[in-house]
Symmetry: C2
Subunit: 298 residues, 2 copies
């Protein structure tokens, strides 16, 4: 028996998950969520986002959440930062890691930030530069890597180009996101391998949405192809703003079940994590979107 | 480009799906369900079960369902038959194919039919023999292949032994069922390969439950290992009698989405199938358990 390999899970529930919630979640609940997730053994918990409160009112309390958070030594609590203004707020809040966001789809970028791919990259470059100069770690999300809600197909070459560009900005990790959950395993692996030819595999993460039920199949295929970092959201928090009624982020607890079953280690206490999934789902007034947390919910 | 390979989907919703429904579904609804599924292009639609109405009241109308059914030429409508009495009823109803059921778990067989594995096999042998003598095709289910709700672990050697035994009875296809949905891809493949060493892969089917979200990942891994027949249930019908609140059979529409995304053909019209999933779920008064049918339900 060889030593089990470690898969790093990046928990995105408190940010990517909650940002689509219409009902405002109290800062105290967000803080409790982050701390409970950290207590489960998750190594990275994305905490909040310094986007404009005008665009995402749910994240208006980013400073308050970070101020109230008991941070554990050795854990990362990245925050999403869209621009230099957001970076200033993040620095004022004492963050040590930020995440940048762009898309491999021209149409998605235009709808999302009213700029094409090239302009999006041009806007992110100084944010990365200043963050690095301040000693922060910088992660990057490249979204719509397997399809776009506006333009449909996204060329793998565009994904490679954008991933390479953010990696060149000094982002230590690039998370490749199937934002609308259209991916299937072979296409996911083809995309991953194409990117890995330019940005080394250890610097890549995969980020799947379970909109069509394929997220864990995609994760499995990408693990087989060598990826070792996977994003997920406790309780499947997040929904999908592009498809009403649809499932969003793959649930962290379903992912952990898969990973442990495959013989990987994650450092995560699965039972405790299911408790957190049920707790936050109850706070939001709905059943968990994960298969696993539902079983023992009765 | 090579010719896309065909994956045979065995639709089990009308039998395996509905049998766990507490509320009695009218025979007319069952007939409509089977006919709608056939109209989607599914090659095999398991129609009903000739179990004792005392044990499964939902299937008491098996004869009525078959009598009312417009059968399409070229399609198979197998029915589950537990014993010689069931076979007589099935023959009287004019069926052309039956399915037998047993488990690879000693404890499961004892709880389910009050007999161990060997006695279960001894009881099935004459059913298979007489069915074959009457010119019927015979399929077999081997359940609890990756775990048992009563004994926990199930040895792969037991799965192989039982699969080999039912294949030796003349069953043309053996469906390997993860009855409680505990499987993960590597364990599923190890089990499948062990069985395939004794019963050739073209005679094997896989049957996964999505209780913990891993069904499609398991399907993908088993396709990569060579299986070409997959059981599924429209709308994820079926629940799981062993875990309250849990998801049951993998949803046919999620499976079709995966298969088409992988470049396989199935003959199934996915959009029409999603309509059927939404229709039967509405008839049962609940949202579809599949990811896919939920998206467009709004």
């Amino acid at each position: 028996m060889s030593t089990p390999e470690f898969i790093k899970i990046v928990e995105v529930g408190p940010r990517d998950g909650l940002q689509n919630e219409k009902q405002l979640v109290p800062a105290a609940t967000k803080i409790a969520l982050i701390e409970k997730l950290a207590a489960c053994g998750l190594p990275v918990v994305e905490a909040t986002s310094f986007v404009s409160p005008k665009w995402v009112p749910q994240m208006a309390d980013a400073g308050e959440v970070l101020a109230g958070l008991q941070r554990r030594p050795g854990l990362s609590y990245p925050v999403l930062v869209p621009n230099l203004q957001g970076l200033e707020r993040a620095l004022a809040a004492g963050v040590q890691e930020i995440a940048l966001f762009t898309a491999a789809s021209e149409a998605f970028n235009r709808k999302n930030i009213n700029a094409g791919i090239d302009e999006s990259l041009a806007r992110l470059a100084p944010v990365a530069e200043q963050a690095l100069a301040q000693g922060l770690k910088v992660r990057a999300y490249v979204s719509t890597v397997l399809g776009c809600p506006y333009q449909g197909e996204v060329a793998v070459s565009e994904v490679v180009r954008v991933a390479k560009a953010v990696a060149a900005m000094g982002c230590y990790e690039v998370s490749l996101g199937d934002t609308i959950g259209v991916g299937t395993p072979k296409k996911a692996v083809a995309m991953l391998k194409a990117v890995a030819a330019e940005v080394p595999m250890p610097r890549l993460a995969v980020h799947f949405h379970d909109t069509r039920g394929t997220a864990l199949a995609n994760v499995y295929a990408c693990l087989e192809a060598g990826v070792r970092v996977v994003d997920a959201s406790v309780g499947g928090l997040g929904g999908c703003p592009y498809a009403k009624g649809a499932t969003g982020n793959v649930a962290t607890e379903d992912l952990v079940y898969l990973l442990h079953g495959l013989g990987y280690t994650t450092g995560v206490d699965l039972e405790a994590l299911c408790e957190v999934a049920r707790w936050i789902s109850a706070e939001l007034g709905r059943p968990p979107a994960s298969r696993l947390a539902r079983i023992t919910a009765n």
